[in-house]
Every structure is written in C-alpha cells, then in structure tokens.
Amino acid sequence: MLNKLRKSIFLLMILVFADYNSGLARESFKYYFEQSQRFQNGKITLVKALKTIEDHYKVNFVYQKKNIAGKSVESPMILDQPIEKLLEYLLVPLNMSYEKTATNTFVIFLNTGLDVAGGYNTVTSKPTDPDLSHGKKSKSSNKLVAVSGMIIDEAGKPMSNVSIIEKGFSNGTFSDSRGEFHLKVHAPLSTVEISYIGYKNQEISIGQSRNLTINMAPDIKLADEIVVIAYGAKTKRDLTGAVSAITSRDIIKTNALSPQMAMLGRMPGVYVSLPGGDPNAAPIVRIRGVTTFSGESAGPLYVIDGVVVDEYGSRSTFSLNAQKAEDVRGTQNIFNLINPADIESISVLKDASSAAAYGARAANGVVLITTKKGSEGKSRVNLNAFVGISNLRKTINVLNTEQYVDVVNEANSGNPDFNDPKYDIYKKGKSAYLGNNGTHDWQNAVVNNNAAYSSYDLSISGGTKTSNYYVGAGYASQESSLKFNNQERYTLSSRTSFKINNILEIGQTLRLAYTNLIDNRDNTGVPITLLNVFSTPPWQPIYGMGPNGFSSVGVSQYGPETKQNFMGVPSVTNRQNDTYKLLGSGYITLTPLNNFHITGSIGTDYFTQREMQWSLRTLNEFEISLDSGNSIGETRTTNFLLQKRLSVNYTTSFSNGHYIDLYLHAEDQKSIFNALIAGRSGINDVDDPDLFSLNGPGASADSYKDKNTFINYLGRVTYKYLDKYYADINVLRQGSSVFNPKGYQWGNFPSIATAWRISKENFMQFLPVSDLKIKFGMGELGNSDTKGWQYLTLISNANAAYTIGGIPVLGAFFTNYPNLNLTWERLRTYNAGIEGTLMKKKLDFSFEYYKRITSKILQPYRLPASVGIIELPFKNIGAALNSGFEFSFNYTNKFNGLEYSIGGNFTTIKNKVTRLNDNIPVSTPAGLVVLGDPINSIYGFRSDGVIKTESELNEYKKLFGNSPLVQQLQMGDLRYVDIGGAPTPEDQKAGVRYHTVPDGKIDDYDGLGYLGKTIPGYYYGINMGAQYHGFDLYILLQGVGNVKKQSELLMNGLSYRFSNKLSTVLDRWTPSNSSSDIPRAINYGASSVNNSRLSDRFIEDASFLRLANIQVGYNLSEALVKKLKYIERCRLYISASNVFIITRYSGYDPENDMVPTPRTVVFGLNLSL
C-alpha cells in the first residue's frame, strides 16, 4: 500500500515537472512565434480553424458559409485558453463576432457595423481597420488618446469602482458612480484590462473606438478566488494580509460533521488535531503556533456570518474556571451544531491586520465561516447524503491471564506484604486462584465495530434581482468508536436578503440545531476511554451471572484487584445531553449616497443544554458510587451572546487611479452564562428514571451565573493604486469588562498591511509570470481571556462550611489574590510574503514568513503555598515568540481530457518563552512553561537503560549517598542520568531550574531535564485531485513532525502496579534475560518508585503522516442526466478518511489514546435539481 502510494506520488511529480517544462517551452515558442510572424504569412482558412476548435473544445459552431468562405487566420492557434478568448482573437480582426446560444454551441456572424456589445459574456469593440490591430506594437508610434466608456453590470445598471487599466502601462482609472470612466491610452494598439470583484476580467483592444460600452458578467468560477475577509470580500490578488480560505467544494469533501475538520491539512499555518472517535469531542485548532500559555485562549475565534460564537468556559473567559464550566456542561464541540453543507467558505485570518476587525479575542486568529446564500436565477435544490461505517485501526497487545499472573507474582515476590489473603487470587493451589479464569479481551469488548455514520441534507436556494433565499435542513448521526456514545443532529438554516429600494437593504440568517447525545460514563462519571479499559486484568470476566448479563457492575467481585466493569456500569447508569442552539443575525443597510453604506446589525448565539443522568442501584458492589437508592441529576445551562454593531462604509476612487475604502464600526458584545444543577439521590424502588421527581428527600440544587462585555471601535482604511500598490490601515480600540475600570479596561491596537503587485510593473512583463505580489504587514492585537474581577478581592461562601452545634454552618473566605494591574495581553504580528501565479495560471504559490511576539501573557500562575490562597491568580506573566514559514502551492493542468491538480502546504513553528514572572515555571494543563524553552514542554528524568552488572550497580548506588534506596536497588532497575543539582542563586536569577553540573546525586533536580516539545515543529498537507470523463479522485495527506508526547499508555502499561501490562514487558530484565532494557518486575518499595518516575522512557515521537482522505466520485454523464428529468447533476462517491497513519508512536494514535480516531468509509451522493 505504502509503496504504491509512493509510486503514485512520484508519478504525479513527474507529470507536474514534465508539464512545467513543456509549459516553459511553449511559452518561449509563442514568444518566438509572435516575433517571427510579422515577417511570415503562416495562415490557414477560417473554416479549418473553426473545425480544429470544434474538435478540441467539443463545441459546435453555427454560421453562414458565405460569411466564412475565403477568410483566413494566422496559424498556429493557441488552444489551451478559454474558448471565448480564442474566438475573440480570431474573429475581431475579421470584423466578426460570436454568440453562445447553448452550453456548447456558438453562433458566428459578421458585425453589422453598429457599436454594440456582443451577447453573452463578450465584448466587442469595432476596429475600423482590422489590419491595424495586428500591426506592430511599438511604443514609438503610440500617442495618448482619450477614451471614455460606460460599464454596466449583467442587469444593465452602471457599475462604479470598476478598475480600468491599460495593459503594459501604469495608467488606469475607476468608473465613477454613474459607471462612466475616462482614460488616456496609447491608442490605437492599446489594450485595457477591466476588473471588478466577482466579475470576469476582460481585456479589450481599443483600436479606433473612443467610446466603449462594456458589459460585465459575473464570474462563477472566480467565486473561488474571492476571499471573505472581515466585513467584506476581496479577490485573492488584492489581499494584503495573511488569509487562507477554502470553499464549499473542499468543505463537502471531508465528510465530517464538524466544520473545523474541513481545514485539516488544507491551509498553511492552520493546525488541526483530530478529536478522536467521540462524536462530541472538539478538535484542537491553532493558528501559526501557540502564542499564549494555556487553554483554548490559544485557539482561534470563530465567527459565523459575522456573529462571534463562543462556548462559555472553553476559553476561560469568565470568572468561573473552564474546568468547572466543563464539569457543569460537559465537553461539547458546539461546531457539531453547524451543518458543513450550509457553509460557503471558511477563511482563516492569521495576522493582525486581517483579524483586527474582530477585536477582543481575535489575537490567535479568526476562523470566519460564511454560509451559503441564494443567487439570482431559478431555484436550485441540492441533496447531499452519505452513509458509512467507522472502525478503529488498531488495538494494543496486552498480557493474557497466564502471563499476567506470572508477572504479578514475580513483581510481588520477596515482599511479605503480598502474603495478605487478598493476593490469594494469584496463588496457584489457593481456592481463590484466578489463573485458570481464561483470558478476557476487554479492548475488543468495548470497541464499537462498524460504527454507523450517516448524514443527509437538503437545501433550496434561489432569488430574483432584489432578493435571494437559502433554506437548508439536515440530519446526521454518528456512533463513537467505543460502545458508549452516539450523537444525532438535526439542523435547519435559512438566509435571505431583500433590496427594498435603492437605499434600503435588509437581510437575515437563522440556524437552529438540536443534538441528542448519549454519553455513558464510568461509575465515577468519567468518560470511558481505551486508556482505562486496556489495563483491566485479563482474568476479569466481562459477562456472567450478574445484573444485565454482566459478571458484575461494580468493583468488588474479586476483591480489590478487580477493576470496575466498563461494560456493566453503563448498563445501570445513563447520561444524555440535549442541546438546542439558535444562531442568528439580522441587518439593515442604508445606502443614502452611492458608495456610502450604513449598516446596523444584531447577532445572537444562544444555546441551551439539558443533561440528564441517572443511576440504578443494583448490587452491593455499587455502594462505592451510590450510597443508597437510585439517583438522578439534571443540569441545564444557557449560553447567550448578544452582539450589536453599527458600521459605516464609504468607498471612493479618483480618475488618476487612487482608490480608497473607509470602514468604521462600533460594536458591543455581551455574554451571559447560567447553569442550574439539580439532583436527588436515595430514591428507592423506581426503575424508570422518567418517573423520578426531583422533589423529595435527598434533593439538592445549585446554580452558577456569569457574564462579560466588550466594546470595540474600529477604523479601517483600504487604499489601492492601479491594482499595483495596496495598503490597509486599521486602528482598533477595545474595552473589556474583565479588567480594572481604573485605567486597565481599554487597549489600542493599530495594524497595517501593504502589498505591491510587482507583476504589474513594466520591468516584469518579459517574465513568464501571470501574477506576482510581495506583501508585508505588522500590527498588534489584544487578548483578554481571563477570569473576571481579578482586580477585586472576592469573598466566597461556597465550600467553606464547618460543623458548629452539630449542623453545617456556612463560612466565608477570600478566594483570590487580587491583581489591580491586570490588563490586555498583546500580540504583535509581522507578516512578509510573496505569492503569485506562474505557468499561465496553472501554478499558484505563496511563501510567507511570520513572527508573532506575545507580551503581557495573561496566565493563572502559582504562588508559593505559603500565601495560602486557593484560586490561582491571573497576571500578565510573560512573553513568548512564535515564528516560522508557510509555503503553499497549487498546480492544475489538463492532459488529454485528464484534469488534475496537486496542492500542498507546509508550515514551520519555532516557539520560545522569552520572559516569565520571577523566572518561575508555570504549569498549565498542557505542560510546563519554562523560560527559554518551547511553551508547554515535557520535563523529567533521562533514563540510561537498566543496571546490568554488579559493578554498574555499585557505581550507580554511589549516586544515592545515604538514601535508603541504596538498600533496594538491584540489577534490572532503571538507571538515570545525573544532570545536575539544586540551583545556585545565580542559576535562580537566570531562570535556570537546576544547576547543570552533575552533583553526584540522583534527586528530584535530575527530574527537571528537558525531554521534548509538545507543539509540532512543522506540519503539512498534500492534496491531489483528478477528473477524467466524469470520474474524479481526491486524496489528502496530512502530517505533523518534530513533536513529542508523554504516553499515558506506556506509563500505565509498563508499570507493575495492578493493571494489565503491555506485552512488551514479557521481554523484561530477568537474570536470564539480562540484556533487556525493560526494568525488572517489581511492585513495591523504592525500586518500584524509582523505575516508574516520569522519564524519557515514556516519551515518544508523535510525528505522523496520515492519509486523511481519499475519495473517488463519478458524475453521471450528461446524456444520462438529461434522460432523468429535472436532475441537473448527479454524483456518486465513495470516500475513506483516516485510512492509515505512518508513525513511530506505539500507542493507539499519536493524537489520541483515549478514544482514537477511527478509519471511516462512506458512500455518498450529491444531487442537484
């Protein structure tokens, strides 16, 4: 498989390379030809030319023979260009035009002498002397001539701000508000280029005409090139900042229920980590490194149709900590509530200038999701459906019962403590002996084979000249890779807009979603993961005579060595989540003057969740988790965000080629979170949870609430000169309620981005470059993700009761150490890049360098315990640097009816902590932050194999001085490297945690060694596509490199504590297997502690390359489709994701050992009516 893949990659590369060469050759040949044709008369008849074109482009021409006869054109023709262009090239000099009448039919006719625009998508200008247009193009003969014209859109209305530039010169202008333009050109040989966002570019030879009427036609293809940016859109070539985008065509290919997954491997600078097989888990998304120390505040801000979507607590925004919010609500990927089929495009704004408009929380990038809207024309109906299955790729080899008992006995031998009767289960001959119990495969028991996966959605869209609509509905369901969870989702969305008159436009988006999640957990309420399950002792039976057909549900069946029955527990407990989401927005735009818009909008993100859980008391074994009787709990959370914005936009252009776009807005955001938790325990004799009432003894209730607000003011000037020089300047002023009102709430964040389209310069014209742009930008953004009211000393009444007079009395205490000066975390970004299009627009590339300097990083940090406060205080604690390169390319070509493309992107990250409060390391949920090292790295002992000889043993014992460990160390124990000792005051000043000179002792300081980084050093994606006669193929490879992971699996599976072990321990050190580097079996005392310390033994390389997606589709041929009435397009496909992974990581999956990401195969249908 792998070999084949390598071969095909190789073949593809050869193709690309060969074509690149031939492209260059052709380019130079053409040049030569153009030079030489002035002196030679290489002509063929028009009849022959048209025949060739018919064959090549598979089109039909209709013409009157008399019009064609006797006419000849120059040969050879260049065929690999749009047919319209070619026809123009041939017909205009002959004073002829064409009109497209059907998909593949063109009517050719003689011009009648009237100066009219020529039908669909074409423009004709009428040179009176056809020969002139083919004359010499020499500057010396040119004189400046004034031309003027009128530009109208497809509806015949004048278009303003359309750019008109003379090719090869630096003169140009824009059309004014009446659609008119005036320009001096080097007539009569001049050609002007006319362009406008969303419309086809046109090149028109001026010839003798002085007054042009130009029809602009919307470019459906170009829609890809339009990139949605903050409050607007630009063509890709006009971008100044760092923005990556994908459109619905790519999004639909992922077959994922969550839109974030569509970004996987597709965008430079965007890192997406798969969330595993739990349908509810959220992927981790990071844009250009990790700029802050912890949590989802390092993640991007998500904006859907202009509405900020923020899951309470997921970014530790509020005064309750994120963990608590998660406890209350449960983890949830709220993006599961957005149907990817409704999405038109996803843009990722990576630098300060692009993201500035989203103000607060945009520092770590913005993921801008734009949903589909209808367009003018007849109603379109789209149906997408797929069904499929998913399976885990691997299980881990563990010991069987016989091997397990052997290892346990060896590990316990020699310690009298294990003579306790409870260890009789491992002693042959004792009645409790379990060695003959057989081996029970727990992993396969919990794995959900052929987990079902399906999605169906239907949308209808359409519109008129003044209104449009889009309505979509979807249903999806997904089972987890383990047998405990599954999710169903219903979505409904609508988007409409209406132009009431020339002044007023209103619009609206609304999406509703409902998900039902079955979320069974273990008897402590923790999700069941393979990491827990794999270590269940193999002698422990799964099924038996216990309740519901399981051997037991609790933990006691075989005494304390038994684990809970992960299959049995969910049979007596249940947890369900119902989530209801409403995301909507509405706007009114006033256009009192041409090019002057005032827009008011309101958006809300509202979701509410009801979680029900209940447990049935069944057996005594269960008394651990349930004191008595059944229990029921219900949690309701409400998340509400209200966003109000008023914006003013004014664009103007000047006849000398300057263009200015002015945008101002004021925005107000308010977020509110509420939670209500109620429960009752000790309910007897009722088995049906729906019959429980919360009223009664043992009832309890609790609530949380929280809120915050933001205000943003933004001013943005976009300046452009002749499609050549660009500048965007943003000034953002934002306030956040979380900071001290006395001077710390407000921050100002300027940014600028500039670009120079060097390809537009004359001196670049001789190069075979279609487009080339250099850009540079820098700016600042703020981040305020912190708990609220940190500037105050807060008093809590919770959790501080004490029994007085026999009853609990409520206490009060100071929860925090206040920080009055807490303020905005600041991120400064630098961005420099070059991007362009080569080889006649077949190859796009971009290369960017970024640098992101975070200062005043907001972070909870630990104070010495002697300060005596419980909550970690927040502080602007340090600074960090992220930098790297992004490279991406995309190549498309045709080859004998085969259309193929190959694209790729590669991103590097260098990451370093440059300043830290008092040089004291900060521990975060993701690792440890140490000055000078990459953020969230792993630290521990460095192991040095096991002790194999007496002399090694004696030598090693010396490192422990008088420590009692010396008495217990034996051959077969792990040996660590003495890397240093207690820091000197100088070390402390320099932020060094240990003195790096070996001190002849192995102690805790030797456990501070740097073992690796957890943020990948680089990541990449490669995608390939091909189309041939209705068949299409799509392949996506994705990978990360230079990253380490601390493997919990190894830590559990290589220890000799009670739990099943990895089968690699069979090769452990024993006197007869003395060359092994796996420590001896020992389960007590100092040696056991010594061998299981966190060391590089448990750290693995987590780099991988994954075949993320492979898809083969077939478009029903048009002939067939035509027979099926009403159907416009029908495509069938089969798609597999996460097909294989190449990695050195030994666990289930380098990204997730808990519920690993399964391999999914789906069969799907796309239908358009």
Binding site: L646, N799, I804, V809, F814, G868, L965, A1086
Partner: protein, 516 residues
C-alpha cells in the same frame, strides 16, 4: 450639484457619528462582580462570624478523604512516623525510605496549613480595619478575634512540629512584595504559636453561651494549647521558665474533667464532652449537594465536604488496597492488660474512633465518617501539666498524683473490676523515673491519637530526654516497630522536607540542610 453632495455627505457623516456614539455605552463595561468583595462584605456580625467559620472549615482538610485526588488523605503524615502504629501499606512516612521532598502529602499538608494560616490572617486584617461599629455584642467581638488568633496559632504550631523552619506568615499578604516569605529560623514558629494561643486565651470565653455554639474554641483550649506550646519550648530549650509558664497556663484550663470511662472519648454520641478541650468538628452533609469525599472540600459546590475519614482504622476492600493501621508489637507489650486496650485495638487492628466494622461509627459510607478527631483532651492536659511540674522543679508528688488520676480512670473504664494499671507510689522522687512514667502514660492514654506520640518523641529527642531516660535515642537504637524492611530513620526525619514544589515557587526558600 457638488454643493448638494457635500451637504448630504456632511449630514450622513454627522448622523453616523451620532449613531456611533450611541451604539456603545461605556458603562456597559462596568459589571457587578458575581461575588461579594472584601470592600462590601463584613458589614455585620453575622458576616464576621462567617469569616471565622471559613477559617475553621480548613481544619477538616487534614481529616477528610480526598480519594479522587490520588488518595491523598493525610493521616499517615502525623500518625505513621511514630513507634505506635505501623502498616503493611507502603507509606514513606512509615519506613522513611522513600520519603522525598517531592512527596505529594508533604506538599498537601504544608499547603493546607498555610491556607488555614492565610484565612486567619485575612480575617484578622479585616477585623482590624472594619470591625469597629459593626458589633453590637462586644463580647462576641473579642471571641471572634480570639478564634482567629487561636486558629492561626494552631497553624504555626503544626508547621513547627512538622516542618520546623517553614516560613512564618503573620499578616495578610496583600501586595507583591510579601509574596515570597523566607524560612523562619529556629523556633520562630513555635514562639508565634505561643504568642497567638496566649493572646487568644485572654479573649475567648470560658464557655460559649449555648449548645448552638458547640465546637468553637474556648479559653480553656487556648490556655491548653498555649501551655503545650510553652512546654514544647521548655523541652527543646531545657528552660525552666518555659515550663513554669506552661504550668501557669495549664492551671487556667478550667471547667473540664475526665469522663468516667475512657471509651466515652471516642464515640460519636460523646463528642464535645466535658473532657474534650479542643476537638475538630467533622460533620455529615451527605443529604446536601456537594458532599463528595473524593474531592478536596473546596473542589465541590455547596458546603464542600465536611466529613472526616477513619478508613485506615478499618480494612474494607473498598479502600483500594490501602491496608489498615496496626499497633506495633512494642505498643501491644506496653499496654499489657491495661483495660484501655479494648478501646484501642483488637486482633484485626486499631479500633479507636471506629468501633465496629465497615461503616462503623458515623455514616454507612466508607470514605465519609463523622466521628470528631479529639485534638486535646483534658487527660492530655493533666499529663502535660505533670511534665511541666516535674520539669519546672515542682513537687514530684503533685506530678505523680496527676498521672495516677489518669490511671485510676483507666481502671474504672473496664467493665469488670481490675487492678491495673495500678497507681504509682507518690513517694518517688527520681525525676528520670517519673519522666519515664509520664512518657509511658502518654503513650498508652493517647495511643493513636492525632500525632501526639510522634510530636512527643521528636521534642523529647531534641531535648535529650529520650537519651536521658532510655539511654536510647531516635537515631540510636530506638525501636520504631515498623513491619517494613527496609526501614531507615535518620536525623533529617525529625522534620518533613520543605516541599520540592515550594522550593521551585519561592526563590527565597531553602531546604533543611539535612534534606539537601
């Protein structure tokens, strides 16, 4: 035409300006906090009372289960180092061999003591700044302050006994310059404890007005603890004046007496009896949201968990392999036929506080018992007083009489008439002999209770008393009775190490020399 455009432009620009101004009100940023603050709280007696209760609530942390946090109950920190208790569970506090500065219990105990300390300091600060005019009941004002001082004193006292040179924090930490406190030196912590207990003893009531206050500390408790701290000081400094001061304070412990039967001290229905001088109140809030012995008490909502944990005295399977605590052979021998034995251990293990099997006294739930730990009983005071008399040069007969009071009550505790333990002859004058009697009596009477034996052994070692009485010392031939091999006590074990984590977080802090 141009003029008209200009006018309308001006108009709309003005309009948008006005709309902008109206769109966002700056006051929208000023939100009221979700919790009260130190500025607006503490306006009433009741709120001050809550502040005091908040300090008390930390006491429970040393006794509850916290199984979910890595089974970090803390009993072994104070119980296992001594020579009375052993266990076949693998605890570094028992064998000393694997004890490291990075041990989590070393860190947790330390952390909780400073949280207790900080809560007291914070309340003392608020009390000083805001209490004037708030109290209608001036007596209550004194009592509250007395409680704050007492509880802070208790944190100092424990810190000195366990960690020796841990930082002394004696004020509210409210600015960055106070964050990193260096080590205390020598006996600073013990001196601070004496000072706080003494100050508290002058403020607290002899008796709180009615049973609804039961469980709050009293003047007697403060005098008792002040005396004990002074006695410790006397022991280690071999200083008669400290002993004399201790004696004066013990004499002030009034209103208490021995209950008639020894066993009445350890059952739930006899909590806060007339012999109980200072007792930590553990409760039962199982019927309320939030009782969750698997979490730290402040990790869960509602009350937090307020129950104690005595699981180590039992051996139910549900303790996840944690074996019961066992009396050492030497202790069994020391008990002989003493009738107190039947209240302390049986053939299975230690039964003090948990008479009966699983579920035992208190609630029927493994991890959540409600029997109060008795921190200071009057019997303890009497024996301390005997020691103070003896060491300060008082009448040996008076000291012996106090010991005999304990022995006499022990005899009465038996269901059948017994003659052991017999009274000691009051004619004895050999100081060493009488000291030996006191040492042995404390061992039996206070067996398994709250670290008394370990704290005693430490101070007697430091003060040279063990060497004098037994010709043996903790690091020279002392029989700890551990069932573990290897076992290794060295002098560094007189103190717990300063936690490794704390050394990482506080640049001003140093490790004990012996632990380096």
């Amino acid at each position: 035409m141009i003029v008209r455009t200009k006018i309308s432009s001006c108009f709309f620009i003005l309009l948008s300006g006005v709309l902008f101004w109206a769109a966002c009100k700056k006051k929208n940023l000023d939100l009221d906090p979700s919790l009260p603050t130190d500025q607006n709280y503490f306006q009433t007696e009741q709120q001050f009372d809550q502040g005091v209760i908040g300090i008390y609530s930390k006491l429970v942390f040393f006794y509850n289960y916290r199984g979910g946090t890595g089974q970090e109950w803390l009993h072994d920190v104070r119980l296992l180092p001594d020579d009375d208790i052993t266990t076949n569970w693998l605890s570094p506090f028992e064998s000393f061999t694997t004890l490291q500065p990075s041990n989590k219990k070393v860190y947790d105990y330390y952390t909780f003591l400073y949280q207790l300390n900080a809560r007291a300091n914070n309340m003392l600060d608020v009390f000083q700044k805001k209490s004037s005019g708030v109290y209608k009941n001036n007596a209550l004002k004194d009592w509250h302050k007395g409680e704050m001082l007492f509880l802070r004193g208790y944190s100092h006292f424990q810190l000195w006994n366990l960690y020796g040179i841990a930082p002394l924090v004696n004020r509210r930490i409210d600015n960055d310059s106070l964050l990193y406190t260096p080590n205390s030196s020598g006996n600073e912590l013990l001196e601070a404890a004496i000072s706080d207990f003494t100050a508290a003893s002058l403020l607290l009531p002899e008796k709180w007005p009615d049973p609804t206050y039961k469980g709050r500390v009293t003047k007697g408790a403060a005098f008792g603890m002040a005396g004990k701290a002074n006695l410790y000081m006397g022991t280690i400094k071999k200083n008669i004046s400290d002993y004399s001061l201790a004696l004066q304070q013990f004499n002030q412990v009034k209103g208490y007496s021995l209950v008639s039967k020894y066993g009445e001290n350890f059952t739930r229905d006899q909590e806060n009896n007339r012999e109980s001088v200072f007792e930590i109140q553990v409760g039962d809030n199982s019927n309320q949201e939030g009782s969750n012995p698997w979490l730290d008490t402040d990790q869960f909502d509602g009350n937090g968990d307020i129950s104690g944990y005595w699981g180590f005295f039992d051996n139910h399977w549900s303790f996840f392999g944690g074996s019961r605590l066992l009396p050492t052979e030497s202790l069994k021998t020391a008990f002989g036929n003493d009738p107190r034995k039947e209240f302390c251990f049986n053939h299975e293990g230690i039964i003090k506080y948990v008479k009966g099997s699983f579920g035992g006294d208190g609630r029927n739930f493994a991890a959540s018992y409600t029997n109060n730990p008795r921190i200071m009983r009057y019997a303890d005071v009497l024996l301390l007083k005997a020691e103070a008399i003896l060491q300060s040069g008082g009448s040996p007969a008076e000291a012996i009489q106090l010991i005999n009071q304990i022995r006499s009550r022990a005899r009465q505790s038996s269901t059948i008439p017994v003659s052991t333990p017999a009274d000691y002859p009051s004619s004895e004058t050999d100081k060493k002999t009488i000291m030996k009697w006191i040492i042995e009596e404390r061992r039996i009477e206070l067996a398994f209770e709250e670290g008394h034996r370990w704290f005693d052994l430490r101070r007697w070692h430091i003060g040279g008393i063990l060497a004098e009485v037994y010709r043996k010392d903790l690091d020279h031939g002392w029989e700890f009775g551990s069932v573990h091999t290897p076992f290794s006590f060295t002098l560094k074990n007189l103190y717990l190490p300063i936690p490794f984590e704390e050394l990482q977080l506080n640049p001003k802090l140093r490790q004990h020399d012996n632990w380096k």
